[in-house]
Symmetry: C2
Subunit: 118 residues, 2 copies
DNA sequence: CGATGATACCTTGCGATTCGATGTATTGCA
DNA sequence: TGCAATACATCGAATCGCAAGGTATCATCG
């Protein structure tokens, strides 16, 4: 996951942000995450498995996540949880998202011109 | 610009959204847009010319923008303005953005839903 | 028993978008 | 003359998200 130098490739990395956030709350496994995102956003956001798994692997590779196998009902699952590194990453991404969303919101609703009305 | 079937390719198209919004307010030309975005967002968002011009051309091609040449101070500029089609497009994109941003915001700050236990 | 569907993992190819660099031309200024 | 700013444009590379497909296990139903 190469860092951008100017913008954070805009809004890319939103899946990453959401996944980190979910995992910070509680340990989850890939398949579960896919459904959790759909349900909790009322299907406004739907990320497929082809998005979730690569992100999970990438984050683990970067040390942001930790995984452990667990078999439940004869079903093998891989549970992921956030590391300290991951927490920091989440904080950074959250802030970036907030700033960006605020900037866009300003452009959409905000005053039109009027730069620094003094 | 192909429509997505599930999500709007997430946050892609934000430049398009911003540009349409700027142009709805007033006629502008490419070079001006680049700077306007940087200035009005306090450099939180910076889109290069390599982003702006292609978007401008694409939107005009789709009939969302209209252009007219104008020479000012011996400088040739191409001013763009929003058509009715463009206005509709802006409305759609705005709504999509708002919904998406709200959903993400909910995930970030929102309550930790207890899921269906057992 | 066999079929189907849900669970659970994973990878790949494609398309779309953005980014940085580069190119051209004109104007203003020192 | 040389340099910076203005103003247009395009290209190659990188990235990301997505749909589709692949494997395997388990539960259920006929």
């Amino acid at each position: 996951m190469a860092p951008r130098e100017t913008n954070p490739n805009f809004m890319n990395g939103v899946p990453e942000l959401i996944i980190l956030r979910l995992l910070q709350h509680e340990e989850m496994y890939g398949y579960e995450i896919v459904q959790a995102i759909r349900e909790r956003t009322d299907a406004v956001i739907v990320v497929g498995e082809g998005v979730v798994y690569p992100v999970l692997h990438g984050l683990e590779h970067d040390g942001a996540l930790r995984s452990r196998r667990k078999t439940v009902n004869g079903r093998s699952r891989i549970y992921y949880s956030v590391t300290a590194t991951g927490s920091r990453r989440l904080a950074t991404l959250s802030k970036t998202w907030t700033d960006l969303a605020a900037a866009i919101q300003t452009m959409l609703t905000g005053g039109h011109h009027a730069k620094t009305a003094s």
